[in-house]
């Protein structure tokens, strides 16, 4: 494509004219987004070809995700990083190799163009690292108050190699549940970054792409049954969904849960349960017990999986239900979250 060598975009903030279909819009798209993402052509569609598609038995995987976050930039990432990682991870935990992404932006008038440039640069860098390409996109501008800064919607397409079939329904009693690292960093970071609770910490979001990690695990533990990324609703929600889909119970050990002291501290202060805090680079997967060690070793070999640990296992008892053995030896149900977790004083 033809990247302009002379900056024409002199505005510092987005106005409604940047969404009006004329020159201003073209300049915004060219200089902020296209220059960062470098699509093959500036058509309204991406024309995709990949050798992986031609393999007999290969399946196409597709996912879509909308991203909203306040603040747009936070320790450890920004909305662009969330969008790339979130979509890559949705494909990866389903066993697909992520290949292509689309990115649609809904921008509130008055948004700083420098911020958009930073978000686009983050997205390009994250896509490169994850081995995916942003091949098509869209921008819309809405009036002040009609959106909260920037909303990003991404669709991801990937290919599931022949013979690979990850699904929660494959989980069997006795399978081992493994997470790749500490829980709750993203949720705690956002709570602190919003500023309304006036809490300060050095916690950073765990936002990261997990495609390479999934490939490493599947290579080492080909019997891997299923994986979920524990985003909204945290590990508790991911495990509940999996237990329900598989018709198995899940038992986890409180003592095995990897948690940073700062996250524990924040949860103690606000009366929150870290099991429900959001993550953006944390997955939980089930593997047959015989392959658990191999899966752990493969995960710990990669930076995204350095902190991998076994947190529990699937059981034949209490199907559809997640239970936790407390450090005290007591037992409690870890239910789905009702609504959202609110800070409490009681």
């Amino acid at each position: 494509m033809n990247v302009p060598n002379r900056a024409r975009l002199r505005d510092t903030h987005v106005t409604l004219s940047h969404g009006g279909g004329g020159r201003a819009m073209r300049d915004l798209i060219d200089e902020v987004f296209a220059s960062a993402f470098r699509p093959d052509a500036m058509e309204d569609q991406a024309r995709l070809s990949d050798a992986a598609l031609a393999e007999p038995g290969a399946r196409l995987a597709m996912t879509t995700d909308g991203f909203v976050v306040t603040p747009l930039e936070f320790p450890g990432g920004d909305i662009g990083k969330l969008a790339i990682c979130g979509t890559v991870n949705d494909l990866a935990v389903g066993g697909a190799r992520p290949l292509w992404l689309s990115a649609a932006f809904i921008i509130e008038e008055g948004t700083e163009i420098a911020l958009l440039r930073r978000i686009a640069a983050t997205m390009a860098a994250e896509a490169d690292a994850a081995g995916v390409r942003i091949v098509t996109g869209d921008t819309k501008v809405v009036g002040r108050g009609a959106a909260d800064g920037v909303f990003v919607t991404t669709t991801g397409v990937g290919v599931i190699p022949p013979g690979r079939d990850l699904a929660a329904t494959h989980i069997r009693p006795g399978d081992v549940a493994i997470v790749n690292g500490v829980l709750g960093d993203h949720g705690a970071t956002i709570l602190a970054a919003r500023g309304d609770l006036a809490l300060s910490t050095d916690i950073r979001s765990d936002c990261q792409a997990l495609g390479h990690l999934m490939e490493a695990v599947i290579a080492a533990a080909p019997g891997t049954r299923a994986a979920r990324d524990a985003t909204r609703g945290g590990l508790a929600s991911a495990l509940n969904e999996m237990a329900e889909a598989a018709g198995v119970g899940v038992g986890i050990e409180e003592e095995a849960l990897p948690l940073r002291d700062e996250v524990k501290g924040m949860c103690e202060i606000l009366g929150l349960d870290p099991l429900y805090l959001a993550n953006e680079g944390t997955l939980v997967l089930f593997v047959p017990e015989a392959e658990a060690e191999a899966a752990l070793a493969a995960m710990r070999d990669r930076p995204e999986g350095r902190g991998a640990v076994i947190v529990g296992r699937a059981t034949g008892d209490h199907p559809g239900q997640v239970r936790m053995r407390t450090a005290f030896g007591g037992a409690r149900i870890v239910d789905m979250l009702v609504g959202e977790q609110l800070p409490r004083i009681c």
């Binding site: 002291d261 209490h318 239970r323 030896g329 037992a331 409690r332 149900i333 009702v338 609110l342 009681c346």
Partner: protein, 380 residues
Amino acid sequence: MKYATEFRDPKAARAVLARIAGLADQIGATKARPVHIMEICGGHTHAIFRYGLDKLVHEGIEFIHGPGCPVCVLPMSRVDECVEIARRPGVIFTTFGDAMRVPGTKMSLMQAKAAGADIRMVYSPLDALELARRNPERKVVFFGLGFETTTPSTALSIQQAAREGLENFSVFCNHITVPEPIRALLDDPHMVLDGFVGPGHVSMVIGIHPYDFIARDYGKPIVVAGFEPLDLLQSVLMVLIQIRDGRAEVENQYARVVPEHGNPVSLAAIDDVYEKRPSFEWRGLGEIDRSGLRIRAKYRAYDAEETFGIGYAAGPRVVAEPEGCACGQVMTGRIKPTGCAQFGSGCTPEMPLGALMVSSEGACAAYWQYGGARISEAVE
């Protein structure tokens, strides 16, 4: 976490549990004829379920979950009044997160926020003060909710507002006190209680002597307890030892935080800003004499009830509880959450009928969320 994790040691817990079991056997407590111990404080209720203590103690120990959850005892009429204030023009209504989902007769604060009211969750009344400083053109109202633990924080905030001359800050006062409802429960002929675990953080403010009447007039042991699992278990043990020895005293397990006579600064601030209301309505318990606080006349400018002409200032109004809601009976220990016909069907955390299902401290929500009921069904 210093002063917290040490009190979560499973090895020590096993020892305390074994002692509890030994004592329970000694005094002849069985599943059919249990010792009833009420943990007054909702924070204790939460900890019991969070750590699964109810399932770990000897089966002859039965916890009765007391009225010490300010959200659970909040009458619907007061939620309605919050919503009414929040919808007045120019108001920023601030609240602790706990109160957001409590149903009023028409809506909760969460629903009022969705309908356009400017309602914000804060961690501290200090944050509401800061909002008032930053938004001089708006009226910032703080929903003062809670027992004696929380009361000093709003009293000190009102004093600070008065010092600064912040005229756009006020408190909708719903502060309540622990001793009065306990007396009401002890006077209830249906009540079968053998001892109490006392509220540690309330006591850090008021000291341990306000409970003297429980031991002296009613002959029941009470042990003021901390909130870590070992604190709770040790307190249960201390109650059992009193029962075995035929004593009824006020004991303090939480001496690292609770001074015998409370905190003088807090008590002075409460006394300066608040006075007793003649009576206050408790959800499930009805009106209880001298159990609630109101802002004194000298701080009238900071009293949202006065400035908005709402609530007791507008004359008392009692709103009937929703049909079929048995929160009151659960709170007085007459029935267990599972004994309520609505539990899990007409009343769930997603669609709460009564307040005990809303708050994370409510006995019903804790039963549901942590599976007290569902686990025992499964085990049996």
